[in-house]
Symmetry: C2
Subunit: 352 residues, 2 copies
């Protein structure tokens, strides 16, 4: 495998691929020799220039290249495109010219690939495709949440307000500062239709804002279900999903800051949260209306999905087996032993 674009998503996907016993990371590309090349070098990843005529810049910066993008494409079974939004579409003809199957990210239009992908929602869609698009962080999180709810209760209609982070922590040119911006101001946003690329028959309306935060997206979710759930049933259902982390009541985790702190304390690389983080306390039911809040780590939640997409395209491993391998190798499946019951706290004290 290769990764084209060793940036926010690319460096995480590269590490995740390198951690799979059944995959080999051949190399990664960068467009310019910035601080990212040091991270790649420390990990021993072979580096390729993403743009042929900028290879000189790397030499000038004292960075050794193994080759350029074309060399990487000829050496891999699948290229994972982690270029900035919109650049993937421009790369697509290059991948085709080298006859290299490609995985794109959710910043691209769905039309860039034969199939959109979420492991929980539509693993088999990637099976015979030469080009697959792993949907965006928000669509990934909504698919993971809505798929089990639809299976267990039937979704009559989902209505979600996405309060999006303005930019990632390293994106110093993003806004807003001290404002909440309807983005887009029109409703519904594109996120609902994007969920339908994964779950075609599910009725979902989304409205999106952006806020002056960098840590995570926050979703305020309403789902009108076809059959009336009870809260403990929903908690159990979601708690059984490895890619959903139920944030326990009483653990003192009140927002993205504490969630990232929790992930860092758990030894997660880059404090990554690969799971949807659903506040257990927020899960509530009135009639057939389910409400909850979930947080989404925009830099991380698509990473295991990229690994599964590679397996779906290149092997005959099925969805449960692929997801289990990915979860096991990365350590996906954060579980808290904190809770409101005495037993949970006692166990924690004994173990730690």
């Amino acid at each position: 495998m290769g990764v084209n674009g060793y940036g926010t998503i690319g460096k995480r996907v590269a590490d995740a691929v390198a951690a799979q016993p059944d995959m080999e990371l051949v190399g990664v590309t960068k467009a310019s020799p910035d601080y990212g090349v040091e991270a790649a070098a420390r990990r021993g990843y072979d580096l390729y220039a993403a743009v042929d005529d900028r290879a000189d810049e790397f030499a000038a910066a004292g960075v050794d290249l193994t080759g350029t993008l074309g060399d990487l494409l000829d050496a891999v079974d699948v290229i994972v495109d982690c270029a900035p939004s919109g650049v993937g579409e421009r790369n697509a003809p290059v991948y085709e010219a080298h006859d290299t199957p490609a995985i794109f990210q959710g910043g691209e239009d769905a039309a860039v690939a034969e199939a959109s992908f979420n492991a929980r929602g539509c693993f088999e869609a990637a099976r015979d495709a030469d080009a697959v698009r792993v949907v965006s962080c928000n669509t990934t999180a909504l698919s993971r949440l809505l798929a089990p709810l639809d299976e267990a209760y039937g979704v009559e209609k989902a209505r979600v307000t996405l309060v999006r982070r303005g930019g990632d922590p390293s994106e110093t040119d993003r806004g807003p500062i001290n404002d909440i911006v309807p983005d887009p101001a029109t409703v519904p946003s594109h996120h609902g239709p994007d969920v339908n690329e994964i779950l075609p028959d599910l009725a979902v309306d989304t409205a999106a804002l952006k806020a002056p935060v960098t840590g995570m997206h926050t979703h305020s979710v309403n789902v009108t279900l076809e059959t009336e759930p009870d809260e403990s049933g929903v908690r159990d259902l979601l708690g059984d999903e490895d890619r959903i982390f139920l944030v326990p009541e009483g653990a003192g985790i009140d927002g993205a800051g504490a969630l990232k702190e929790y992930a860092a304390d758990a030894g997660r690389p880059r404090s990554d949260l690969w799971e949807n983080c659903v506040w257990e306390e927020s899960i509530s039911v009135t009639g057939r209306d389910l409400y909850l809040f979930q947080n989404v780590h925009q830099e991380a939640d698509v990473v295991p999905e990229n690994v599964d997409a590679i397996r779906a395209m290149t092997t005959d491993v099925d969805a449960p087996e692929s997801m289990a391998r990915t979860n096991e190798t990365l350590g996906v499946g954060l579980r808290s032993r904190l809770g409101n019951d005495e037993l949970g706290r006692a166990e924690l004290a004994a173990d730690d």
Copy 2:
């Protein structure tokens, strides 16, 4: 009339009362001689000590007092309590002891008063009451929005996510910084039941977050209506409400910052937005589901409601007449001549 607590809300209510030809502002109280006393003095308002045994502090700061709270209570027909949340409840027995009818703010529990009040929703509820509570900024805005929708289409169920400002611009001790916090983490929040103090039969579920902004609250609103609306009908309906400002498409107003700038340019005192600010572009309908975004200026939108509450308690003026007088004297009813049609722009160019 008197105002007990010349703070964020109190100073605005005092100015609004002073602007009414049919009302007289006798004076205002402050708990301590901070910068607020200068604003009161500049306007020529008589100042009273809110707490008897702290009158010395004012003398020490060189501030002349007309008297203390008790003196003010004996001189007025109605006292408007604008004390911090929770302090109003402690003041209630004092008002009763002086036999002075009182208006409380929405930070108090509904039980503090005989009736909760919103001019558009339940003006007559205050008619014979000795104690009235003007509901909070968020409840005020939701009542103004849902009352006309319920009258025109019938509300089957409203579901609202409130993304609240963390603190007012002057509140330097508030958070969050760089985080979005479910607040409360449990759903539904208290806002829905508070709307039912105004509109008792309306089904409304609310979920609340707080964000690192100071300017305004943002509401992401879904209303399932009993009859199917069309978007232009909803725009016309809301556009006819004087206390709703339809933020025009194409005016370049993308958030609270630009809204406040617009208000400042319009000559509004303190850049106040007394109206709900509904993004015209966001009004959308799918089947019987209406969606929209609205912004709420937490420091200002209850101000005209306080004026109307005074009139409801002390006169036999009816709701439309009182609201018209308040709107006229304050200048409530922001209208933009910007729009997407050529005519609107031409008129603006000719006038300004």
